[in-house]
């Protein structure tokens, strides 16, 4: 009897450690910006295909692409296009980096509702964020210092802002750094002299959206490329994806996959 129990227990332990793997595994790694999309999409996909297990992690765009080249991941998510250097190093290892544009990321500048400014130029935004413009007076507002709200320097939203608005300048050191889009909205809604930026999906009635260079932000203007602070988000695969990888990419591009993109507050490609 004792021996019998022992065998059963050992069996149970071994199985619980290895996991009973019947279906296919899919690994996704890369950009933390794309992480919410990949996670939610994986959830929805796994609900439909119970035999597929998807492992999603976010260790940065560069690390993701490197993992794809090294063969430790199936799909690399990236918030930028693959660099020539990466494409070449993939080629050397027999990996053809193939990008799939799965979503768009648009960032909009916002101010407090009471601020009597509707329009701002890219140059002004840059000067506000690098510290050249310190007072609202210089933008046609009251004679008060601007409270600059920025995102933590490791966030993807900040990355876009740095690339498109700051264009290589350092953000002023005394900018208030907040940890999330929600907190940015919260901070700006409560500070009459604050300016900040949020992802387009987080638009809220409690803050005022500024036009940039006379253009107003909308999913459509992000899609047609006329909105200046936007970027595409990619999923990279090795060559034309086949099998379960192909099915997942296909799902991403489908209406259902694009619905996921909108749900996690990014802009769908159609």
């Amino acid at each position: 009897m004792k021996k019998f129990l022992m065998i059963i227990f050992t069996g149970l332990i071994v199985f619980s450690l290895t996991g009973l793997s019947f279906g296919e595994d899919l690994r996704i790694d890369g950009s933390t910006t794309v992480l919410p999309i990949a996670q939610k999409a994986a959830e929805v996909y796994m609900k439909k295909h119970a035999d597929t297990r998807i492992f999603v992690s976010g260790s940065g765009s560069g690390t993701g692409i490197k993992a794809l080249i090294d063969g430790t991941t199936h799909i690399a998510t990236s918030s930028r296009e693959a660099k020539d250097k990466e494409v070449a190093s993939g080629k050397a290892k027999g990996i053809t980096l193939t990008g799939h544009k799965v979503a768009l990321d648009g960032i909009i500048p916002v101010v407090h509702i009471s601020m009597k400014i509707n329009d701002i130029t890219m140059e002004q935004l840059r000067d506000v964020y690098n510290g050249k413009i310190k007072s609202w007076k210089e933008l046609g507002g009251p004679n008060r210092p601007i409270s600059v709200v920025s995102r933590d320097t490791s966030s993807g939203t900040y990355e876009v802002w740095e690339e498109k608005v700051l264009k290589g300048d350092k953000v002023r050191a005394d900018a208030l750094l907040v940890a999330s889009n929600g907190q940015a909205v919260q901070t700006i809604a409560q500070n009459k002299f604050a300016i900040g930026y949020i992802g387009i999906g987080y638009i809220d009635k409690s803050v005022k959206i500024l036009k940039v260079n006379g253009k107003s932000a909308s999913p459509a203007s992000v899609r047609d490329g006329s909105w200046p602070v936007a970027r595409p988000l990619f999923m990279y695969t090795n060559g034309k994806p086949t099998g379960v990888i192909g099915k997942f990419i296909h799902f991403m591009m489908s209406a259902e996959g694009q619905k996921v993109v909108n749900e996690v507050k990014y802009v769908s490609i159609q």
Binding site: T63, S154, E159, A173, A179, Q190
Partner: protein, 330 residues
């Protein structure tokens, strides 16, 4: 089968010491890991540049990892909190231990200890949605709009011009998320720690001391100020040190309400980015084994050193004074 009691005893001893040793080893390993990961940043970026650098731009190209603004942020917030929390905490302890009626004490003591278990994220949220808007929407207009107007209307030389201008420009609170708001919230966090330990220290003073003081004709206040407090000064210092330790390590509150700007704060309404806030905000998105990752471990190691020194100090004080007290008793 029957075991000899000696064998049983040995086995129990072995189990207990193994369990005890395991937790010590785990602690040591964590410490080792922390310093191992931290070492690299000092090695790669230079000790001086990291410790005394003024610029914290970890993701800029090229990055700079000056930790001075972060350390200054922690120090500023801690100092400001200590100024508010130590007098309040100690006064609370004196009231509960010495002055309050027995029934009030029974009610107050658990209440204040309950405050210690208040989730800090709730305190942070409270500071963010209640205190911060109050500062920027209510206090700031009073100080920088109403006050200058009053000053201007006096029509006195200097006051109506220079002073009014000064108030208009300098008393303006740019953001409610600053070290004052953080210090206020941290005070709520520190008071229960300080007062409950201090209260224990005060209660531990032998009754004979008080009786001797009263029999010499001292009144209650003289007894408290000249006998009870000096007799429990070691316990009170420990209370203060542990309170400060709590403030230094507190993460959620400073992350939410300190503003997060990595600059050295110059006024009490300036924002700061204390060390725990920097770690918490950046660790999730710093690529594994990157310089930024090591820099955050460096900040963690620094933080650990500070709190470690503080607890070492409290240990030293308690040991030194305890021996004196026992000596006195004999």
């Amino acid at each position: 089968m029957a075991l000899r009691w000696q064998t049983k005893e040995k086995a129990i001893e072995l189990i207990v010491s193994t369990v005890g040793l395991t937790s010590v080893i785990i602690l040591l390993l964590i410490g080792f890991f922390l310093f191992k990961e931290a070492f690299y940043i000092f090695f790669k970026a230079g000790v001086m540049k990291v410790l005394f650098g003024m610029e914290w731009y970890p993701t800029y190209d090229p990055p700079s990892f000056g930790m001075l603004p972060l350390v200054a942020g922690t120090l500023a917030v801690t100092l400001l909190t200590a100024v508010i929390a130590i007098p309040l905490g100690l006064a609370t302890a004196v009231y509960i231990a010495e002055i309050a009626h027995h029934k009030v004490k029974e009610f107050l003591k658990p209440l204040i200890e309950m405050l210690a278990s208040f989730p800090s994220v709730v305190l942070g949220f409270f500071g963010m949605v209640i205190i911060a808007p109050m500062l920027s929407n209510w206090l700031s207009p009073i100080l920088s709009e109403t006050l200058p107007e009053i000053l201007r209307s006096t029509n006195l030389p200097f006051i109506s011009t220079t002073l009014a201008e000064l108030a208009y420009n300098k008393l303006f609170i740019a953001s409610g998320l600053n070290i004052s708001t953080a210090a206020l919230m941290l005070t709520v966090r520190a008071i229960p720690v300080i007062s409950s330990i201090a209260e224990d220290a005060l209660t531990a003073v032998p009754r004979t001391y008080r009786e001797a003081s009263y029999s010499l004709g001292a009144n209650k206040w003289e007894t408290i100020l000249k006998v009870v407090i000096p007799a429990s000064v070691s316990g009170l210092s420990i209370a203060v040190i542990l309170g400060i330790g709590t403030i230094i390590g507190e993460t959620m509150i400073v992350l939410m309400v300190a503003g997060g700007a990595a600059v050295i704060p110059c006024g009490i309404f300036d924002p700061a980015r204390p060390m725990p806030a920097a770690i918490a905000a950046e660790m999730a998105e710093a690529p594994y084994q990157s310089l930024h990752y090591h820099a955050l471990f460096g900040v963690g190691a620094l933080l650990f050193l500070i709190t470690f020194l503080l607890s070492l100090l409290s240990d030293y004080i308690s040991k030194k004074y305890r021996s004196v007290r026992i000596g006195e008793k004999i």
